[in-house]
Subunit: 276 residues, 2 copies
């Protein structure tokens, strides 16, 4: 078994028939997750991801059933079994099995080791189109498993040649379905401060940008976005992908901006040297 | 195996390790369900439940992988295996297994045959307290698996001696976490028309009430509720449970109302004769 998963104390192949069907994550959407990757075989910003995961769990009145160190040992084991140079890890913590389909007793804790998604060099080089979507995530600060709208709109995105949705509500933007959003107006780098997931890659970019730009973390209007000089989105797997089209609105000249490319180069240097 | 479940073409014991962990219901909350019960061994209003289930599935761009007749045969099989006089059935349809944790290819279809929840005669006799909760369900007309708030608030409900949450938003009430809400003002029977699940038991009560009361299906204000003469909630398993307390507000004299009891008696007659 190359890619393997940890579930409640044991290791299984990733395609094992594993979960009983009265799990509260399945039946009631009572679950949260996290997702991160290795660089040079070392989990990127593991302390940050662990802290976020544990905080999200606590917000749902659950606790990870392992310590950070115990979990790190499992990651090392799963990484070794994969035989791959780089992998992704997906944590899932649900309310566990419930005889009455309501009451949390013992959470289920799953760690899947997965292949990295394929790079999309065209997105990086040419940028992506996103569709504005009137929505704000419920409990945005918690990484729950509720991604229904993303999947519901998959057909519409494909039909319109869009790579993702951009959530906005009451004239204010928040985030994409699985990634944060930034814009440049001149040398001001601006990203929303509310109704967003506290992205670890977002944090890394804010740190890298601080010495070079006027960083502003604050409410951001949809109108600011469509009048930006540059726009991009950050995530664990995407780094910084330029956004060049928002629905019918073209951002600036419709090409990736030079400040975005500059920041991505800084990030690239960090991950190339990660773990050394 | 007394209680058994159908999953993608086969029958398994209810506690089987069954589901692979890349199911989109588990990972992304992309799933919907339905739940109904037998009276005299015959599924109650099966055509209505099936129609609602199939409509909900279509709203999520999925289709039940079986016809209504094929499904009815499975229900009969599961009922027989249970050896019980009365059972409940839970349908769950998810986006299925996804290698990329995003793309729906082949939905997973699960039918669990379950014991009925225990009756709660105290609730019926004395009525229940509910907590007002500022929330409106996302896609309320679809019976998705998103019940996160219900479970999140379980501790608070317990602490306050409440049996459920009453959702309200902008001064308007919608529903409880898993059941519809009605109120009486004099001989007017009033229930919200929007932001609610189209409950089958709700429909049955509306039909039973029509010859006797002035039935009004329309937006309902929170203020109307707390000034009602009677209030009750309907669901598959609860029939009509009186609501006598909404947070700090006592409904009328704090006792179940006579019209509520009258309607419940009518419903009781229907289910006693069901299937004959």
């Amino acid at each position: 078994m190359p890619y393997a998963q940890y579930f409640n104390g044991q290791i299984f192949p990733n395609d094992a028939d594993l979960l009983k069907t009265n799990d509260l994550g399945l039946l009631r959407g009572y679950g949260m997750f996290d997702y991160f990757r290795t660089y040079n075989g070392v989990p990127f910003r593991w302390d940050d991801y662990w802290t976020r995961f544990a905080n999200s769990a606590r917000s749902l009145h659950m606790a990870p059933p392992l310590t950070q160190d115990e979990t790190a040992d499992i990651l090392a084991d799963l990484y070794k079994r994969s035989g791959e140079a780089e992998v992704a890890f997906r944590f899932v913590l649900t309310g566990g099995y419930a005889a009455d389909s309501v009451t949390v007793t013992q959470p289920n804790f799953l760690i899947r080791c997965e292949p990295l998604p394929k790079d999309n060099p065209t997105s990086l080089r040419e940028g992506i189109k996103v569709l504005p979507y009137d929505y704000v995530r419920d409990l945005p600060e918690i990484k729950t498993t509720n991604y229904l709208h993303m999947i519901l709109q998959a057909g519409e995105m494909k039909a319109q040649g869009a790579a993702d949705l951009l959530f906005h509500k009451g004239g204010e933007i928040s985030e994409l379905t699985r990634s944060n959003v930034f814009l440049f107006k001149g040398d001001a780098l601006i990203t929303p401060d509310r109704n967003v997931l506290n992205g670890i890659t977002r944090r890394a970019f804010l740190e890298l940008a601080a010495p070079h730009f006027d960083v502003q973390v604050r409410p951001v209007l949809f109108d600011e976005l469509i009048n930006a000089d540059e726009c991009f989105t950050t995530s664990t797997t995407k780094w910084a992908v330029p956004i060049v089209q928002v629905g019918e609105h073209t951002i600036a000249d419709g090409h990736p901006g030079k400040r975005t490319v500059f920041l991505r180069e800084l990030f690239l240097k960090v991950v190339e040297e990660w773990g050394s």
